[in-house]
Symmetry: C2
Subunit: 114 residues, 2 copies
């Protein structure tokens, strides 16, 4: 049997990141209904359990509804893998911007006068 | 000092994946020239060291040039973080498709006749 991408041990951080994204999506998408898409309930569970500390108040239904409506570009009430990756990409870019802004805000320490 | 997203320990696989993407990009982007973008040389190093086993023949210059030209949407010869995330997203979606196709191809085992 040939090695599949998913059964092979990741050899770098980027490969690990890709595997984690795929495995996490399927952990939730497989719970009910279509095995390959996230229903509202599955998306809510994923957001709370996996991104709770990033999304902060995503625990209220309104936030979950907003994310769902933004992601579900074809309006079928389900989020597919591509839509999920678009969310994760946007979140990662936002985190990176925040990180860079924070670094830029760090003022260099003034040299004490002699 | 407030905790930043990057200094905080990730509490889930998705948070780890996001941190890995950000850290890997900056590991290479900081080597020469603009600290926040990948030059051709930095992109080539990243592709070979981090994605060598996925991209296969990315070691030849032609493949690196092709990825660079596809990614560098504003033609400045540099790949910024957003362009990098678009590549990673596309690669992850391709891996997922491959994974699902492979699973669909697996024929269910026939029950032995009694």
């Amino acid at each position: 049997m040939p090695d599949t991408i998913m059964s092979k041990e990741p050899t770098s951080n980027l490969e690990s990141a890709m595997q984690m994204l795929i495995k996490t999506f399927h952990k939730y998408s497989g719970k009910e209904g279509d095995k390959y898409t996230l229903s509202r309930g599955e998306l809510k569970e994923l957001l709370i359990e996996e991104l709770g500390s990033y999304l902060g108040n995503s625990k209220d239904n309104e936030a979950v509804e907003k994310v769902m409506n933004d992601l579900d570009s074809n309006n079928d009430g389900e989020v597919d893998f591509t839509e999920f990756i678009i969310l994760m990409g946007a979140l990662t870019v936002a985190c990176n911007d925040f990180f860079l802004e924070y670094k830029t805000d760090e003022k260099p320490q003034e040299q004490p006068k002699e």
